[in-house]
Amino acid sequence: MPSLGADMEAGTLVEWLKRPGDHVKRGDVVAVVETQKGAIEVDIFEDGVIERWLVEPGTTVPVGTPLALIGDGEPAAAVPAPEAAAPAAAAERAAPPAPVQQPPVPALEPEPPARRPRASPAARRLAAEQRIALDELTGSGPDGAIVRSDVERAAAGVAQRSTAPKRLDLGEMRRAIAAAMARSKREIPHYYLSTTIDLTRALAWLEGANATRPPAQRLLLAALLLKAVARALGQAPEFNGFFTTEGFQPGAGIHVGTAIAIRGGGLVAPAIHETEKLSLDELMVRLRDLVARARSGALRSSELSDPTITVTNLGERGVETVFGVIYPPQVALVGFGAPVQRPWAAGGEIAVRRVLTATLAADHRASDGHRGALFLADIDRRLQNPEAL
């Protein structure tokens, strides 16, 4: 059972999406678990063959409990059931590992040539018409092939999911946020830095870039801010990672968590994997997709377990300054307020400029104010060269 947040203690297995004997590769969605953040699709971290399930759907098990045995396809020795205090050997073979105990693995490396899912021609045609990804379906046909009825079911499911966001339990989510934030304030010695950034160049560049884009593809300032943070993190690794019992562990990649408010209350901050490597257009696509899925409760486990830092953008709410609370076990949170018009001294004159307040809340166990200041300044510098983002 993956840890999908610092204070998640247990999860309920809702359904298996693969069957024993199925080949899986890293990134495949294998199961759905019910958590405080709603129903989450669990993607797998290892390549291999599912040997057998260790947990039945409907069962609630503690974080870290092996859910399945992944082997190399060879017959494996019998392994005790999880109730018998899962032995270390089983835990090692089990997937996915809890990221708190183990550095998270970047889940979106360039994938090897994808295994073509075994699907019937009729299923392929319907899937193409309905824009359903075959590699996310489980087949019920010959040799586990995906057949037309599987696609029909998936099409019905997609419709249901998008119209029924009741997979989210807001009460549970509030309790999870309460636990995580209480732990943050109890354990993390925060320090706070603030700087004001002149947005003139960034906004002018955005206006130019959007002039030729259709409305659905326009870039938002949020994408520029995320990209600037991700790029700056490349030079400031002590803000990108986790603080564990072993001390600070740098993240294996830059996976910026983006705080997304849930209608009706609540909050999730799922990761955009490898943020610094995405073009602004790609970043916008991912951001829009993430917001939509977060609000319908259709996030993936790696998106919840992998963020190495959180960015909160409260500008839309009209506030100027964010005093962030770090989401443990992360070590930093960057906050952005609203772009506002202010008298601004530039080139020896006073002019009216659009400016924005950027803040850093950071874990003093992992970094010091000096490095934090350089980090914030670097974000500012990058926003002055938006064309380089």
């Binding site: 019937s120 021609p121 009729a122 299923a123 392929r124 045609r125 087949g139 019920s140 046909g141 010959p142 040799d143 092939a145 057949v147 037309r148 009825s149």
Partner: protein, 329 residues
């Protein structure tokens, strides 16, 4: 045809068909080995010699090439001969006449001469006649342009396909499966003709299409009954005409069920079942939910011992198993 409903055998239906043809068209005559005094190897022509005399019911020497050639000549000369070759096994001796002459003369003469010849022959295994007398080679003949190949499986087809074949201006081969002669049933009244162009749905269904003809039709219908008990509704199609194939009926059914299994007593390699499978690939690939399945005879000379012969031939249990496998069961 007498009035009303009555029970007859397939053998009786074929005999009535021949009798009917002899009675209605003076150009029709029957010839073959033992068709006269002996009454036919499968007793199909019993009594016809007495009724119609040796001019029209002609016993021939044991030379398939000679009497099929004589039949072709008679057809060219304006007659409507029915040539009986005792079984498909012996038709190999007449292959040259059938393939090189009957099938090509219309073409070779630039359309000047037609060959309105009907050749009937028994086909198939199941009577413990061993490897040399148990062939199902109708698929070979279905390979040849210029021939029409029909396989009556039901009583009404046995009774009425002959008239349609005689009406055809080109050679028609009728294959009668040896295991069908003793099948009895009620010949529906009110039917006077059948076509020799189309396949027929013998049992409607929605989940899988079972394609067959001739001797395996009833095994396939039995298999469909078994499948129905498991909630699988199989559509059974009797191909009836092996050349030209009624691809339209086949593709319409497969397009609906998305699954197809072909049941053919012929061997699978280079066979009619392979041809049907290819037609489905060409015409219904994007409708398929599974590879086309086949139940054919084991690729061995058909054995003599009863249990081995049964094991070598398509049987309902195998049809059920392949149909279920196609459906992922």
């Amino acid at each position: 045809m007498t009035e009303g409903v009555r029970e007859i055998t397939y053998r009786d239906a074929v005999r009535e068909a021949i009798r009917g043809a002899l009675l209605t068209d003076p150009r029709v005559f029957l010839m073959g080995e033992d068709v006269g005094r002996y009454g036919g190897c499968y007793a199909v022509t019993k009594g016809l010699l007495d009724e119609f005399g040796p001019e029209r019911i002609r016993d021939t020497p044991l030379s398939e090439s000679a009497f099929v050639g004589a039949g072709i000549g008679a057809a060219l000369g304006g007659m409507r001969p029915i040539v009986e070759i005792m079984t498909v096994n012996f038709s190999l001796l007449a292959l040259d006449q059938i393939v090189n002459n009957a099938a090509t003369i219309r073409h070779m003469s630039g359309g000047q001469f037609a060959v309105p010849l009907v050749i009937r022959m028994a086909t198939g295994a199941g009577r413990q006649l061993a490897a040399q007398h148990s062939h199902s080679l109708e698929g070979w003949y279905a390979h040849i342009p210029g021939l029409k190949v029909v396989t009556p499986a039901t009583l009404e087809d046995a009774r009425f396909m002959l008239a349609a074949a005689l009406a055809d201006p080109n050679p028609v081969l009728i294959f009668e499966h040896v295991m069908l002669y003793n099948r009895s049933g009620v010949l529906p009244s009110g039917i006077g003709t059948v076509d020799i162009d189309s396949a027929v749905v013998r049992r409607p269904g929605t989940h899988v299409t079972l394609l067959t003809y001739g001797g395996t039709l009833f095994k396939t219908l039995d298999a469909a009954e078994v499948l129905a008990k498991d909630g699988i509704e199989a559509e059974v199609i009797d191909l009836r005409v092996l050349r030209p194939l009624d691809a339209e009926t086949v593709l319409a059914s497969v397009g609906k069920t998305r699954h197809a299994v072909i049941i053919d007593e012929g061997w699978r390699s280079g066979s009619l079942s392979a041809e049907i499978s290819a037609r489905i690939m060409e015409g219904a690939f994007w409708d398929l939910d599974a590879p086309v399945g086949r139940v054919c005879s084991a690729e061995v000379p058909i054995p003599y011992p009863h249990h081995l012969e049964e094991a070598a031939l398509p049987q309902p249990a195998a049809i059920v198993a392949v149909a279920k496998a196609t459906l992922g069961g």
